[in-house]
């Protein structure tokens, strides 16, 4: 047979074999058979001696063309096979992405601390220092320095947990005021502080009373601090917590450590001031107490009340949480029921 004829046959047969190879192993066998060192093309090259010299060039050229064709087709086949394999693997790896994920436990902040942190951030932004005082407080700081004289009803054993005659569980965070006032150096600038923490009262626990709760004390003191400043500050707090659309009102009140003393109400967010069971038909909800620091408190701390003055406020954090989140039993904050605690996560800021 003529070499050219052989080559032609080989080309046809080779392409068929390449196409027929079903996997990489078979494809490799085909490769060896066609273009390997002892393959069919090599064989043809060895037979070149039999070709007339003037045709050798033509045959050589043709052999190269066939080899190039085979190599190209082999590469393509190899690529196609690899692609098929990948597709097969991916198909095998397919998962149902709609099945639920595997979850570790999810943390949550306590609702009273949500209120606390929110307020602390607000006050820090306004230049207040956050100050902590002792919860086991002395009668001296809790009462005497705060202008609650010896026979004041609030000092009754009935109202306050006494440990001994001098020491007690603080019934208010106001003691922090006295401690800070004693230390503050007004030559270093005005005094602006908030003092959050736990306080204790001798109340039996029920839906609206708790023997332990959280308060935040605020104090701003300098040469020219007025009740207008207090009013603006309280309105800011109320609107920050309960919404800018709330109405507020100040009422005269009484605390031994402030004079004048006021309480702030906000318009009821349940009935919008029309009167309902939550606001006891008054349209208003009491939210905080405040006032201008009593001159006796200043003098007790060694501060000249003719020169310096300022305001103080007391915020009930449990009460804020109750109002803001619509909690109907204060004990819910202390039983730590996970079903209750889990619902406030979206309130975090």
């Amino acid at each position: 047979m003529d070499l050219l004829e052989k080559l032609d046959q080989l080309r046809g047969r080779g392409l068929e074999k390449i196409n027929a190879a079903a996997d990489t192993q078979k494809l490799n066998d085909v490769r060896v058979e066609l273009v390997g060192k002892k393959g069919a093309l090599t064989e043809i090259l060895h037979a070149m001696r039999e070709v007339a010299p003037e045709r050798r060039r033509q045959v050589g050229q043709l052999v190269n063309e066939v080899r190039d064709l085979f190599n190209e087709q082999l590469a393509q086949a190899r690529y196609d096979l690899a692609q098929a394999l990948v597709a097969q693997k991916l198909a095998a790896e397919k998962i149902d992405v709609t099945l639920p994920g595997k979850r570790l436990s999810l943390g949550a902040k306590h609702p009273v601390y949500l209120i606390l942190d929110d307020l602390e951030a607000l006050f820090i932004g306004l230049g207040y220092q956050v100050v902590q005082g002792p919860e086991i407080e002395t009668d001296h700081y809790c009462f005497e320095m705060m202008n609650l004289p010896k026979d004041h009803p609030a000092r009754d054993m009935q109202e306050t947990f006494y440990i001994d005659n001098e020491n007690l569980l603080r019934s208010q965070t106001s003691g922090d005021q006295a401690r800070v006032l004693e230390k503050h150096d007004f030559s270093q600038g005005p005094l602006k502080m908030v003092g959050p923490g736990k306080v204790y009262r001798r109340d039996d626990d029920d839906a609206t009373h708790s023997h332990q709760f959280m308060q935040m004390e605020g104090l701003v003191m300098d040469r020219n601090v007025s009740m207008s400043d207090l009013k603006g500050t309280l309105e800011m707090i109320a609107k920050h917590l309960f919404g800018a659309d709330r109405e507020t009102r100040l009422r005269p009140s009484y605390f031994p450590f402030t004079e004048p003393s006021v309480e702030m109400d906000v318009s009821c967010f349940n009935c919008d001031g029309k009167g309902c069971s939550i606001c006891k038909e008054t349209g208003w909800i009491e939210v905080l107490g405040a006032g201008m620091v009593h001159p006796n408190v200043l003098e007790n701390a060694g501060i000249d009340s003719n020169v310096y003055g300022g305001f103080a406020f007391g915020l009930g954090l449990d009460r804020f949480a109750i109002l803001k989140y619509g909690v109907d039993d204060i004990r819910d904050f202390y039983t730590n029921d996970v079903r209750f605690l889990a619902q406030f996560r979206q309130e975090e800021k």
Binding site: L104, G127, N336
Partner: protein
């Protein structure tokens, strides 16, 4: 105090309707908690004259013919025991509404037609506590001579058409606990003059003051005035007087008692009336009680008197608990003819304590404890006598017996207009300020910026300039104050460093998936000192509410175990809690507070999942969480020592030491505890507690950056066979010591003890990672180190290395 709107009109012209007035008073003076209108919801209640009343045999019923102002009398069947012919009564007609929105309809009782109902006061909304005793278990009968006609609505005659303003006073505003005081306040608020009549008494009997000697301790009773009236007829009070009392929440009794209560409502001065026969020896004293004395009060409560109780005696035994309540032995009786009236000022603190001690707070005691007007003693006494002349046909004997008569100087308060304006943030003129004080009926003197205010005795709450600021501020109107922010030199807000550290720990734990708990600081004595390595003397409150809340906790874990128990009882057993808070003790004679953090885990690492990955939370999971916390805080040199801590599992608990110092513990809550707590039975609770103050001492101060390693690290594995008693920590310590400073990481990769090993042995496998940060390590060097490690383990721990 419930202040009657209609009664107020006797003193001040009211052109504002009751609810609007209440809002004004709330914003300006005293919070009005509620405005009551007793007639609200009532309908078709009229006066009826019982023309004829026949008892129905064999029943408790009466068949009555009642004139209700219609052409014909109507028939009503009435079951009240006190219904009788010729009484004027309250009739609920067909279609009436009575208390509780109950509708009254014509009907038949035992087959006899009844065209309505004859009512008791409770049935038309009166509180049981104000209904006169004789009408308490039956119908109300209008007193003879009451100005009411059959068919007329009863609301006006019974005072039910009134509006009652509930003055929810603060302790400094007890001046409004009287009609006169309330009138002055309302007059100032609505800027109307107030008309308070003086008393002008002319006695009509001879002087009696020499017939009684009163020995009064003026410290206990700075003022003590007595008057005597004779010829008294004890009867039911007229309706106008009864309505004023019951509208103020006071039960009418008889004309003498009612007059004393009325005077108290009017002037704020509590009064008392004694049957004059009490003092037949001609002696009276006001002193402290003696230890063994007792007294039966008017409410028939027998009290053992305390040496801090003030009593009035008949010269021998107590006849009244001063300022609180009279004694049964001196009570005005139906047959009393001579009455001694007392108006006094008692020490408020002693009265308050007496009332508390004997659980017997009264209208009188609450006024004494908050303070009363010292200028009203004489007036109250005289008015009471005059009223008794009118209402009890009394003869007023001449003279007032003053057992004590301590005066009070008028209070003058000086301030400046500039001070008032500075504190309020206002720009009020002197004229504006003076006008406000005029509204209060306070006299003022002005000298340029100086302002002097003469404060009447009825406002004993005002003594210093700050009090004047309040009067000006509230009458000017807090609504009218500008609302602004303090304009001060800038200050830097923020937290103290330790506070920042605690917040970081809290945030980290929350991020680790723990839920924040908040527990009570007070717990039981036993719980307070559980979970505590070094128990200190406790801080215990004197009068706890109950024994389970009596001692301040020395650990936080106890609160979390309580929380676990609460949740387990509700089938919530997948828990991961943390709490940050304080512990408290009384070490070294002082009260100490320490900031701690504790965690408690139960259940599984993963929440329910379809892959059935059900690894339970165990010691090592919790320890891993804690190790991550320590790593995040940059804490190194941490050691865990197997340790026993009360409340914790004795062989699954470790003390945690940083640089050799104890900082807390980790472990499992003891079976002893979980087995006794029913919901927790058979549960495994793991947790740890750390003293954050202690921990804060070891925090790295700053970070100095190092480049990432440029040379490759080499790892070798090592298997060690040791006695079971040998801890991992001791093996690791030996490896670290021998391996030298190129050892950068040492991990436990396997622990095995069991049947393939000799008894009492365990196998531990480690991976050691070596790195030289300055050059490539050679195999030879690492081999040398591994050989040193092997030798050390064999010699020090008698281990065999494989």
């Amino acid at each position: 105090m419930l202040v009657s709107y209609n009664w107020l009109k006797d003193f001040v012209k009211l052109q504002v309707e009751p609810h609007a007035l209440a809002e004004k008073i709330t914003r300006t003076g005293v919070e009005i908690a509620e405005v009551k209108h007793p007639a609200t919801g009532l309908k078709k209640l009229v006066a009826g004259h019982v023309l004829n009343c026949i008892k129905l045999e064999g029943t408790h019923l009466h068949q009555c013919m009642v004139d209700v102002g219609e052409a014909e009398p109507i028939q009503i069947i009435c079951g009240a025991p006190n219904v009788a012919t010729d009484e004027m009564v309250i009739v609920a007609l067909h279609g009436a509404r009575i208390a509780g929105n109950e509708k009254i309809k014509r009907g038949k009782i035992r087959g006899i037609v009844s065209n309505g109902m004859i009512c008791g006061l409770q049935e038309i909304g009166f509180s049981d506590s104000v209904v006169p005793v004789k009408y308490r278990d039956g119908i109300f009968v209008f007193p003879k001579g009451s100005n009411i006609q059959p068919g007329e609505d009863v609301y006006h005659a019974l005072g039910m058409d009134d509006y009652l303003l509930d003055f929810d006073i603060t302790p400094n505003r007890a001046d409004t606990l009287s009609m006169e005081g309330a009138a002055y306040e309302v007059g100032a608020i609505i800027d109307q003059p107030v008309k308070v009549e003086p008393v002008n008494l002319k006695a009509d009997g001879s002087d009696w003051t020499s017939t009684l000697t009163a020995a009064v301790d003026a410290k206990l009773a700075p003022k003590f005035y007595l008057r005597k009236v004779t010829g008294v007829k004890i009867v039911e009070s007229p309706l106008w007087l009864q309505t004023r009392l019951w509208n103020a929440g006071i039960r009418p009794v008889n004309n003498v008692v009612d007059v004393t209560n009325y005077i108290m409502l009017l002037t704020g001065q509590p009064m008392h009336a004694y049957d004059a026969r009490t003092f037949k020896t001609g002696k009276l004293s006001v002193r402290l009680a003696k230890p063994d004395e007792t007294l039966t009060l008017l409410n028939e409560k027998e009290v053992a008197l305390d040496p801090a109780d003030i009593v009035i005696t008949d010269g021998n035994q107590p006849v009244m608990l001063a300022g609180v309540m009279g004694g049964l032995n001196s009570e005005v009786m139906p047959d009393s003819h001579e009455v001694i009236l007392e108006a006094a000022v008692f020490d408020g603190t002693l009265v308050r304590k007496s009332a508390l001690r004997h659980a017997n707070r009264t209208e009188a005691s609450s006024r004494f404890e908050k303070g009363i007007n010292w200028d009203n003693t004489q007036k109250a006494l005289d008015m009471a006598a005059l009223l008794l002349r009118n209402e009890a046909s009394a003869t007023i004997l001449d003279g007032v017996l003053k057992g004590s008569d301590t005066g009070r100087k008028p209070v003058m308060v000086k301030t400046t207009f500039s001070y008032l304006n500075k504190v309020l943030g206002t720009t009020l003129t002197a004229d504006q300020v003076v006008a406000l004080f005029n509204r209060l009926n306070f006299e003022t003197q002005v000298a340029r910026d100086q302002l002097t205010v003469a404060v009447p005795a009825r406002r004993w709450d005002i003594t210093i300039p700050a009090h004047l600021v309040e009067e000006v501020g509230r009458l000017y109107g807090y609504d009218n104050l500008k609302s602004k922010q303090p304009l001060l030199a800038e200050t830097q807000g923020g937290y103290a460093n330790f506070e920042l550290f605690m917040r970081h720990v809290k945030h980290f734990l929350q991020g680790q998936g723990l839920m924040e708990a908040l527990s009570y600081s007070l717990t039981s004595k036993a719980r307070a000192t559980l979970f505590t390595k070094a128990v200190q003397p406790v801080a215990e409150v004197k009068m706890p509410l109950n024994s389970s809340r009596s001692v301040m906790r020395q650990n936080l874990l106890t609160g979390l175990v309580d929380a676990a128990s609460y949740n387990f009882a509700r089938k919530e057993t997948e828990l991961a809690f943390f709490e940050q808070g304080r512990t408290y003790d009384h070490a070294d004679g002082q009260f100490n507070e320490h900031e701690h953090v504790a965690t408690l885990y139960s259940g599984h690492v993963y929440r329910n999942n379809w892959e059935h990955d059900e690894a339970p939370v165990d010691f090592y999971f919790v320890k891993g969480q804690l190790e991550n916390l320590f790593t995040a805080l940059g804490l190194t040199d941490i050691e865990y020592r197997a340790e026993e801590i009360a409340g914790m599992h004795p062989t699954r608990t470790a003390g945690i030491y940083v640089q050799g110092d104890y900082v807390g513990f980790i472990g499992m809550v003891s079976h002893a505890l979980t087995q006794t707590e029913k919901p927790l039975r058979n549960s495994e609770l793991y947790g740890y507690e750390l003293d954050l103050e202690q921990l804060s001492h070891y925090l790295p101060t700053s970070t100095q950056a190092k480049p990432a390693p440029k040379f490759p690290a080499m790892s070798r594995d090592l298997s060690v066979l040791v006695d079971q008693s040998q801890s991992n920590q001791s093996v690791m310590a030996a490896i670290r010591q021998a391996a030298g400073h190129y050892l950068v990481k040492l991990s436990v990769i396997d622990v095995y003890q069991g049947e393939h090993l000799a008894a009492g042995k365990k196998s531990l496998a480690y991976q050691l990672t070596f790195l030289n940060e300055k050059a490539t390590l050679t195999d030879d060097l690492v081999n040398e180190k591994m050989a040193a490690v092997t030798t050390a383990l064999e010699t020090k721990l008698q281990a065999s290395v494989r």
